[in-house]
């Protein structure tokens, strides 16, 4: 499946190839154009320039219902006046039955209706069984809980057996526990169906946990496209680095010199620039790559501990560090941080080889291997 398009304002030229059977997530803050992208794929909005191709066929002029796609909406968008069963059956009736066969009562006389009805019934049963919503078939959407509505919305997409599922923040109306549960279910469903999923979310955790590949979008551009591990470990842009991961990556203002040496907040960092040049840099450490130190071992940063966020398995230490506006966050095991008291000054250091350095333009800067630089650094 190939899609290429570029619209003028919201999307500044996007090029996206989605493989068959892939779980692709479009993730980004609100207003970044991810929903617009999805709606263009669905055909609910038209692109200004560019083409949308599905299975090698250009579908620019094809109506949404003829693109063989199914969409799951954030608000579920179930027909409120129809039962769950009718909600599941309606898309099939509209697709498979002709005008005469759809007429109430009279339609029973139309030729070929019986065979189609039983096929539709089978499809509906299959979807209901897969999603375990059979007991709900006679209810109306108003009588269902959020999670149940979510399943019905999924079912309505499933019955059509589409070329791809388009999902627009389907989990964001659910409560936190159910959301985590549905993440797992959606991944399972994807595996079971073997279908292509295009999933839009603003929640980086959903993107990381569920997708085969994720596209991080910001201001109408795809900043980085790749598997979740790669995007997390190897962000190509400072905006990606800050957006993906929770708590956020700590960005420390730094400096590079013509010899390739890097300092952050005046402290030397073990890595060195592959292409040395003089100028300001941003040095990023993920919270798990900062370590609290009982004393200054050299090459340590210092900050005042303002808050200890205890999660049981981990403790997040929030530090006010001179020179940066936001609080630095360190992820530590509870026993590692026993000695630190709120209000005290503490030392912390960055893990070797884990610094991600960005240039003044926000792009990643290549580094040499830290082992080679250890002596000179």
């Amino acid at each position: 499946m190939t899609k290429t398009y570029g619209t003028l304002r919201v999307l500044n030229g996007i090029d996206l190839d989605i493989a068959d059977g892939e779980y692709l997530t479009l993730v980004g803050p609100s207003g970044c154009g991810k929903s617009t992208t999805l709606r263009i794929i669905a055909g609910l909005e038209t692109q200004t320039t560019g083409d949308v191709e599905i299975d090698g066929r250009v579908v620019n002029e094809v109506r949404p219902s003829r693109r063989d796609l199914a969409m799951v909406f954030q608000s579920y968008a179930l027909y409120p006046h129809l039962t769950v069963r009718q909600n599941l059956v309606t898309p099939l009736q509209l697709r498979d039955m002709n005008f005469w066969q759809r007429i109430p009562l009279l339609g029973y006389l139309a030729p070929g209706r019986r065979a189609k009805m039983s096929k539709i019934e089978d499809d509906m049963r299959w979807a209901a069984e897969t999603l375990k919503i059979e007991p709900l078939l006679h209810r109306k959407p108003g009588q269902l809980s959020g999670g149940q509505r979510q399943r019905v919305a999924l079912g309505r997409a499933m019955v059509r057996n589409p070329a791809a599922f388009l999902m627009d923040e389907p989990l964001s109306n659910l409560d936190a526990a159910l959301r985590v549960h549905m993440r797992a279910e959606l991944s399972e469903l994807h595996r079971a169906l073997g279908a292509t999923f295009v999933y839009v979310t603003h929640d980086q955790a959903e993107a990381l946990t569920m997708s085969d590949r994720m596209a991080v979008m910001m201001d109408g551009d795809i900043l980085q496209l790749g598997p979740p591990d790669e995007v997390y470990e190897d962000p190509r842009d400072i905006r990606v680095a800050e957006f993906i991961g929770s708590p956020k990556m700590n960005i420390l203002p730094g400096h590079g010199d013509s010899a390739g040496r890097i300092t952050a907040l005046g402290v030397a960092v073990e890595e060195a620039l592959a292409e040395p040049s003089e100028g300001p840099l941003s040095v990023g450490f993920r919270p798990e790559h900062l370590h609290i130190q009982p004393e200054d071992t050299g090459a340590c940063f210092s900050g005042r501990l303002t808050y200890k966020e205890n999660l049981g398995s981990d403790v997040f230490l929030h530090l006010a560090v001179e020179g940066i506006e936001v609080k630095a966050v360190i992820r530590a095991k509870p026993h590692e941080a026993d000695f630190a008291e709120v209000g005290e000054d503490v030392w912390f250091s960055g893990e070797a080889g884990k610094a991600r350095v960005f240039g003044a333009d926000g792009k990643r800067v290549a580094l040499t291997e830290p082992q080679l630089q250890r002596k000179t650094g």
Partner: protein
């Protein structure tokens, strides 16, 4: 101390409300009371609410040459039989039902697609069109009555049902009300219907109509009450043919046709005409309030 001020406040509140209720209900009380009493009791203002219900003699019945024992009846029976026999009240009521129902159905047929387009479709000049709708809300019907009448007369439609119905088929109020309601329907629902393969018209009738039932009921009450009770327009376009008269016009028959003050049968006829509306309102009361407050979906 507290209790006393509260008591005073409650007393004031209730006396104001009570006075308001009396002002509103008194005409209905008189209507009902007169429809039960004999002419003599009405004239002398005696007999309380229901009157003494003594056997009275129908003078016109005697005049018609029938035996006196057939012309003796209780006032309540006299009033209500006279209401139905002196004028074709049933015919008027059926006219009223036909006209109000036709008007409402066509109003819905026009207003729903219009409201859908104004609320959910994006097209050039939409806001201007909606502005015109609001503007039309401000024009009183009486201002355009004369041109309307002339137009209907030119095409020869005066003294027809069409004259009673056609001018009201496009209700800007209905378009406005439904548009406001449709604005609360999530766009996702419409997109979902499009993905399912519904045409825009199918969306209006199969998705928007069922979700808009509360709003439609509210509009229905407004529309039916307004056109059932309308005296002005039928009076303008129905000039000769008594078969086309609506209930309010029919009431006029009592006033002009009967000699003397036949208030009893007239009030009986009024009661009969008002009754359907009261019943409809009581049945749909809850829905009506729902529609007005526009709680809508979710």
């Amino acid at each position: 101390m507290m209790a006393r001020t509260n008591w005073l406040g409650e007393f004031l509140k209730h006396s104001v409300l009570l006075a308001g209720a009396i002002v509103v209900l008194l005409p209905f009380y008189l209507m009902l009371s007169y429809s039960l009493k004999s002419p003599a009791e009405i004239e002398s203002n005696t007999g309380g609410f229901v009157g003494s219900q003594e056997i009275m003699t129908d003078r016109r019945c005697i005049k018609a040459g029938k035996p006196p024992e057939e012309c003796d009846m209780r006032p309540i029976v006299y009033n209500y039989t006279a209401a139905f026999s002196e004028a074709p009240l049933v015919r008027y009521m059926l006219n009223g039902v036909f006209v109000t129902v036709s008007i409402f159905v066509i109003q819905v047929l026009v207003a729903l697609p219009c409201a859908y387009a104004l609320s959910k479709l994006k097209f050039w000049g939409r806001d201007v069109v909606f502005g015109l709708v609001i503007f039309c809300l401000l024009i009183p019907v009486h201002a355009i009555a004369l041109p309307l009448y002339i137009m209907l007369a030119k095409v020869g439609l005066t003294n027809t049902y069409a004259a009673l119905i056609i001018p009201w088929t496009i209700s800007v109020f209905g378009i406005f009300l439904m548009r406001q309601f449709f604005m609360t329907v999530p766009d996702d629902l419409i997109d979902a219907a499009r993905m399912d393969g519904m045409s825009e018209f199918a969306i209006v009738w199969r998705v928007m109509l069922p979700t808009a039932i509360p709003a439609l009921l509210a509009f229905g009450i407004f529309s039916v009450v307004a056109h059932w009770n309308d005296y002005y327009w039928p009076r303008v376009v129905i000039t000769g043919n008594r078969d086309l008269m609506t209930p309010p016009l029919g009431l006029r028959m009592f006033k002009s046709d009967l000699d003397g003050n036949e208030y009893g049968p007239m009030m009986a006829a009024t009661t009969v005409i008002v009754l359907p509306l009261v019943i409809i309102f009581l049945l749909a009361q809850r829905r009506f309030i729902e529609g007005i407050t526009m709680t809508g979906m979710k």
